[in-house]
């Protein structure tokens, strides 16, 4: 803060020197200003226009939003997002917490096991999607394999079933991210005050009680971060759906991100596409803004 104030000479060159830091920062500010905030405003504006294949500036008010909420595919997309988002967050958190607690028991080869649990996070969702797409495919995957073992009536064809396909996305997404949630919780566990635990243990608290009363409540920040990360990923999820089911069968696994893309770029309903993007944006902002706000305020 005070660094620039310690320079007291005031020539033109010095003034330039004082400006230098801001000059260095300014391209980034300009880029983000245009490509993030400017673009957000642009898309927001488009969502109130009659844009079809190309942006157009005929103002139509709330019409696109009215249409949007009467489109069945959007309804499906929202329902899917709720189903997917809820299961994804809950299962990842439970699994992550469980694995973190298990791994926190002075496990031999802990580092090695952690590496295995976390590696899917390094993969592209497209790779994950391809692996699970064929693994879950009834023709060659699990179903075929189990039948090959002699269980002729075994059926597992969720990925081809309109009612169940969305759950296959949950399966693949949980596989990819749960190790990461585990790592977040594990880090949280390692940060807990051991004195307090020892005291409670001396007082005769059982292991279960120890976890329920002391450990898990202290993991609140880890839960918060996990929730924000997962919710944010759920709303944005696009790649995985494309690779795994491509939105199908039919439109059974449509999510907001795929809806936006297809309405904007393949169905040439840019105004409606823009309005769906705005809804996604608002949903994410409702989660992220309070979070960033609290994080950045603490610092001051």
């Amino acid at each position: 803060m005070a660094i620039s104030d310690t320079v007291r000479h005031r020539g033109a060159a010095d003034r330039l020197r004082d400006l230098l830091p801001k000059l260095v920062l300014s391209p980034s500010v300009a880029l983000v200003g245009i490509f993030v905030y400017g673009f957000i405003l642009f898309t927001l504006y488009l969502s109130f226009t009659d844009s079809r294949i190309l942006p157009s500036f005929g103002w139509v008010g709330w019409q696109n939003y009215g249409f949007l909420f009467r489109i069945r595919a959007w309804d499906t997309a929202l329902t899917n997002l709720v189903i997917f988002g809820t299961l994804y967050i809950v299962i990842c958190c439970l699994l992550g917490l469980l694995l973190a607690i298990f791994l926190d028991q002075r496990i031999r080869a802990e580092g090695f096991i952690r590496t295995i649990y976390l590696y899917p996070m390094a993969l592209s969702f497209i790779v994950t999607g391809v692996a699970w797409k064929w693994f879950l495919d009834p023709g060659i995957g699990v179903e075929a394999v189990v039948r090959g073992w002699g269980f002729e009536s075994f059926t597992f064809d969720w990925i081809k079933d309109s009612d169940m396909a969305i759950y296959t996305i949950v399966i693949a997404a949980v596989w990819q991210t749960s190790g990461f949630v585990m790592a977040m919780f594990l880090a949280g566990l390692r940060g807990i005050d051991s004195e307090m635990l020892r005291a409670a243990e001396i007082d005769g608290a059982s292991t279960m009680a120890l976890y329920r009363r002391i450990v898990i409540p202290q993991l609140r920040p880890a839960f918060m971060s996990a929730f924000v990360v997962l919710a944010h990923m759920a709303i944005k999820s696009y790649d995985l759906v494309i690779a795994l089911t491509n939105g199908g069968p039919g439109t059974a696994t449509e999510v907001p991100a795929t809806f936006m893309y297809s309405y904007t770029f393949t169905r040439n309903q840019m105004g409606i596409g823009a309005s769906s993007a705005v809804i996604m944006m608002l949903t994410i902002a409702a989660i992220i803004v309070p979070y960033l706000w609290s994080e950045l305020r603490e610092k001051k």
Binding site: L103, M184, A277, E295
Partner: protein
């Protein structure tokens, strides 16, 4: 602290702690614990196993229901096909040109974004000005927006800039939306760097860039690695921008892989798909195995992932 789970927490991911010791309930049957952990290892490794063994067997073995079995007849033909002859989209070029596209995209994008992030972090911590936190918050928020929100104007803008449908265009897009995170990493790292050293150098007459170059940069190794790995993984794995802003000849690996797998013409060559999927995964897997510690650190401090 903008990185929520970050610093306090990652510091101790190393060895099992004393806390672990007190909690290690002797009542827990250790064997069951190890069995459960082992089963989860299988769960996480299974898809990789499936990809690997099926990329090394003839198609007939897969379609005959032998997905879980080791290859009866080992072959690298699927790999050769995926790399150089498979039909990707309209052309039978294999994935090689797209792998190269991804490299051409990821290297400059990571390099430029890291340098910008380092300079931004330096300014935001050592040359603080009124509103610095606000500027940082605004930069950071840019990482979290759903990119659907920028697709339409970006498509037009790339056209106006004359780099639509090119690898250069993709480099530019990834740079713009990577700045927030690279700035985040360096800002948090430099915040812990003693101001006194900077001030002393300033009194000795060192200028803005000299201080950065001579004093901060030499100790920036660890955070640069974290930042580079994070950007590399994210940009390599990106699909949305690649699918939106590339032409046939500038598609990145992820888009090409998806085209290969989704292509509806001819027989579905699952073994080739699996080989291609591993190819697309190899660079990031390699980085993860070689520098896993830094990868995890990046994940944690960028905890809200872009």
């Amino acid at each position: 602290m903008p990185a929520p789970t970050a610093n306090a927490v990652t510091a101790r991911t190393g060895e099992p702690s004393a806390t672990g010791a007190t909690r290690a309930g002797i009542h827990w049957p250790r064997v069951a614990l190890y069995v459960i952990l082992g089963l989860f290892c299988i769960y996480y490794l299974l898809p990789l196993y499936v990809m690997l063994v099926n990329s090394l067997k003839p198609l007939s073995e897969i379609t005959a229901g032998g997905m879980m079995a080791l290859p009866g007849e080992w072959t690298i033909a699927p790999w050769q096909s995926a790399w150089s002859t498979a039909q990707v989209g309209v052309e039978a070029t294999g994935l090689r040109p797209y792998f190269i596209n991804s490299l051409l995209m990821v290297v400059p994008a990571v390099a430029i974004t890291t340098v910008i992030g380092a300079l931004n972090g330096y300014v935001l911590t050592k040359w603080r000005f009124r509103g610095a936190t606000l500027v940082f918050g605004l930069l950071l928020f840019g990482c979290f927006i759903p990119f659907q929100m920028v697709l339409i104007p970006m498509a037009r803008m790339l056209g106006l800039m004359g780099i639509a449908g090119t690898v250069t265009g993709l480099v530019f897009v990834h740079m713009v939306y990577g700045i927030g995170f690279s700035t985040l990493y360096f800002r948090n790292y430099y915040a812990a760097f003693p101001d006194e050293l900077v001030r002393a150098a300033q009194i000795d007459g060192a200028g803005f860039f000299t201080i950065f170059w001579r004093i901060l940069l030499p100790s920036s190794g660890p955070i640069a690695v974290v930042c580079i790995i994070w950007l590399f993984t994210n940009i390599w794995n990106d699909f949305l921008f690649g699918a939106s802003f590339s032409d046939f000849d500038s598609q990145p690996m992820t888009v090409a892989l998806n085209n290969l797998v989704q292509s509806s013409t001819g027989v579905k060559e699952y073994n080739v798909h699996f080989a291609g999927a591993i190819m697309a995964a190899l660079p990031t897997l390699f980085v993860y195995i070689v520098a896993g510690r830094y990868f995890v650190r990046g994940l944690m401090s960028g905890s809200v992932k872009g």
